[in-house]
Symmetry: D2
Subunit: 313 residues, 4 copies
């Protein structure tokens, strides 16, 4: 199969791109994400038609946040869109006249990294995405593993603290409450509130109050040596690394790939994650260690991965 289209449905933008067999994006377009579900379907179809107009395209892969069923056809539940048992595959196929597969967005990103990014050459890879929340994908034996019902790899919602922080999912102590962009922001604000004298750089980047601190300030302040900013990354890394150690006990991959906006900081966050991983890895002196790698495709991993999954059929 030749060219396919990948679609990445984000909270504010829908990105679509024509992708070749090497994972290269030949053409892209972006449109705003409509709120109404009807308009959303149309917008997806429009984006596909627009970007594919000048290419011979054979299939479409759509990455969306939420639970997607094992047939890769129906979105069972989406956290940010009013989809409940939404037959997205059928609706888009009717509109664009091409075979469509729907995939969880973190699964698609994991597949993209496995095929064309940091995971190349590894047969068993676990990807985690540290964005606003924490998502992930599982590759075992060179295949994406989606679970029996399609909803595997919901890493963000394993419980790491009994009776811990409330999570949007209704549970408590979920990993993503401790290892994600949102958690990083909470760490920074709490520390700046408690010990402002250690957060002078960080506070000066915002409006001088803890509430004024934003995610981008934390990395900027950390690079300037702000103690609270550095400590906030370390706290994030403590939880991220300990969770990877758990995943190593469960999956024993040869590589972990860490993606998402938080990982854009590179070694600032990866180095402490590696240390924490090693600290908590059970049996670490008796077993081969998985590598902990930075993702390579950045924000394009989902689009590229979705396109490639559509190619695989």
């Amino acid at each position: 199969m030749g060219l396919t289209i990948g679609v990445d449905i984000g909270g504010t933008k829908i990105a679509a791109g024509v992708v070749d067999e090497e994972g290269s994006i030949l053409e892209t377009c972006k449109v705003p994400t409509p709120q109404a579900t009807d308009e959303l379907t149309e917008a997806i179809a429009d984006a596909v038609r627009t970007v594919g107009a000048d290419h011979h395209v054979e299939a479409v892969g759509i990455g969306a946040a939420g639970y997607v069923d094992e047939k890769r056809a129906t979105v069972l539940f989406a956290p940010n869109i009013d989809w409940r048992h939404e037959p997205l595959k059928d609706k888009v196929e009717q509109r664009v006249g091409l075979p469509v597969v729907v995939e969880n967005d973190a699964n698609a990103a994991a597949w993209g990294e496995y095929r064309f990014g940091a995971g190349q050459g590894h047969s068993d890879v676990i990807c985690i995405t540290l964005g606003t929340g924490l998502g992930g994908g599982i590759i075992i034996g060179n295949k994406l593993r989606r679970g029996r019902f399609g909803v595997a790899a919901e890493f963000g919602h394993i419980r790491v603290v009994p009776d811990g922080l409330l999570c949007g999912c209704g549970s408590q102590g979920c990993w993503e409450q401790y290892a994600s962009g949102r958690a990083l922001l909470r760490y920074a604000r709490q520390r700046a509130f408690a010990t402002p004298e250690n957060a002078t750089v960080l506070l000066s980047l915002g409006d001088g109050t803890p509430e004024g601190i934003e995610g981008r300030h934390i990395s900027q302040a950390a690079r300037q040596g702000d103690p609270v900013a550095i400590d906030s990354f370390r706290e994030l890394a403590r939880w991220a690394g300990a969770g990877l150690a758990d995943l190593a006990s469960l999956f024993d991959p040869s590589a972990f790939i860490v993606g998402g906006g938080v990982s854009d900081e590179g070694e600032l966050v990866l180095d402490p994650i590696r240390k924490s991983f090693r600290r908590w890895l059970v049996g670490n002196q008796y077993r081969p260690h998985a590598q902990v790698l930075a993702a390579q495709l950045g924000g394009k991993a989902g689009l590229v991965g979705a396109a490639d999954l559509a190619r695989q059929g």
Copy 2:
């Protein structure tokens, strides 16, 4: 392939059995487990020769506690035996003249249940073994998944309580410290110590002191309505079920199989595990639920599973 031999190396006994393609055991023998590693190899070979003497056997599968490498040849580390990078496959093959595969014992038991027990008909199954500790095995897409280096499915050592109980593995807060036979015993003794008036049956079954309580007393007392015994099972189930919910977020199987000595109590322990599982299952109203099933093969699962894995080659 026809008949194979399965070997289960326990702490006190080595069990060997000739197993056919239906998982039936045609003949078995048991010998004591020697302490010295040299004698242990001999004892395994003797058991194989003894039990196989009157059968045309084509391969041998050995289940052992510990880390087994991805080639299923070398025991990297065993918790109770002085094996470190022990080339067990080669040593036994030299002695018995048959192809040998070595497998982690909990993996072997999981495979046994998948093939001939509670897991029949499921393609994606997670088994947990609640014995003295907590072990497990992963079947995805009808295959045993051992990880890239052979040491996956170490369920007992995921961290469920940060800064929690010390574990023999050197870490803290491992799941098996909260959900295992040893944990059940601790629950019962602690509660009998704190509130002996609620443990009259339980205490009467031992020597009257909390230390005199043994595992078998707890199930007996629970069946007689002893509040501390019942509450101890409930506490175990709280942790077991919450952990299964985490595994559902990760693996999304269609069935969990609960085996090991603790599960011999049947619904006394399975019913509260199911309730706790459901209580903590993230997204439980939007997703199909995995079944939580009792293991069917009892203590023979490991032997039968090892034999069958040898048959698969």
Copy 3:
């Protein structure tokens, strides 16, 4: 000294009462609580003048939520009112022409119970108030102990779960997030959401949804045997009792008094609290045990206590 006035500043009402030396309330009045701090001072003064018009009153005690300084004059901080270093004693004295003492409301309630309620005859008493949040007061050696700076006995904000639930105070894992009316409501709603089939009574009392459950429904449902309602009280009691055990290790009182709206349910909540207390009491077989008693004065404890503290000067 003869009659004094006690004032209890609540979120919606200010209650004032003339109290005699036996703790009897001779006359009361209630006025709405104004939002603006200026009007609030006036409203307090008005209430004092109104209720005291026909009595020979010698002093005024005011109970207010928040930090009150050690001179019992200034409110350093109030959680629900815009008071920061508010010289409340001076302002009210100027308006009413009587000596005024200001006291933390939970301290005042503790003193009321010690003098005229469940604490009579005990020299060392710890009171906890399970209301919306969790407050308390300390009596040691027949004296109210307010700390060196006036802000002792903030029981609700000791950390019982590291990395636990966010608290309005900016910290995490505070006791009042696990043992209070608000916590009880969370327990009930979470459980009704996860296992609605065990909450049929509870759900039927509200609008059929977890969000429709209110505090009063939980006790009503518990009395009708609703499993989720009963389990929610048990969870509350688990945390309340474990916290009392900690307070016993610290203060070693002869009695704990449990007040506040949650305790209005009497033995429904006190019995499991006592069991949990005993379960977690360190050294419980070697030491005399404090009694765990229900408060006797109900919602009047704060007013009566404030009046009596004013009398003591």
Copy 4:
């Protein structure tokens, strides 16, 4: 009253000293601690007679680990000696012919620091002793507060981690499992085991293995910049400071005094404790902060305090 004798019963040595009204020790003696309780009583009496032979002594104060009743006469329970309801006051009085008071050793040390050490000038002081375990004492309103039954101030056994580490007291998650000399040693060994490359100094001071690390190595290595040693102190301080913040919420003293062997390291441990204290202090911007001070009397605090308590009668 003039001179009194203080006795400090340690695990290996009994120290006795004649102490004047200024807290100065005029003469001391040490004898080994016998195992048998009868011989122990004799040894205490001998030490008193020996040290007091050349002085006009008016009373004796004995500090012992364990629960001492409110009459300061009977040891209800001792963790390391076979005393259960031991009438120690009567037994020693009969032998030495002087009035005797028995006091919990950590209480005695707290009193010593309050009277003659770091606590001078403070009316409300909380002392914690970071030795092998964690003990403490409470001074409120210039008086030692022992609780209604004599067993207050058992700081080491408040629960700081639900389902946490087992404690010798039979409970789990006790503060002394996270903040004490024993905890510090565990932190160092665990970290040296997991990441030996960060513990080269620390490991070189012992026998090269984690088990060979002893307490004194950790401070020595920390002063030489060993990352694991420094991190171990920081972890200890994290827990110590967070616990002090809880004690501030409860007691609101004007000073905390940190004593015990761990505190001998001075600012190496006190500085991070202060930071952690401030980080976790609830309402820290609205309230006066207690000082966190180093103890001044070292290992003599208990003896001097016991002597002074005997003087107070």
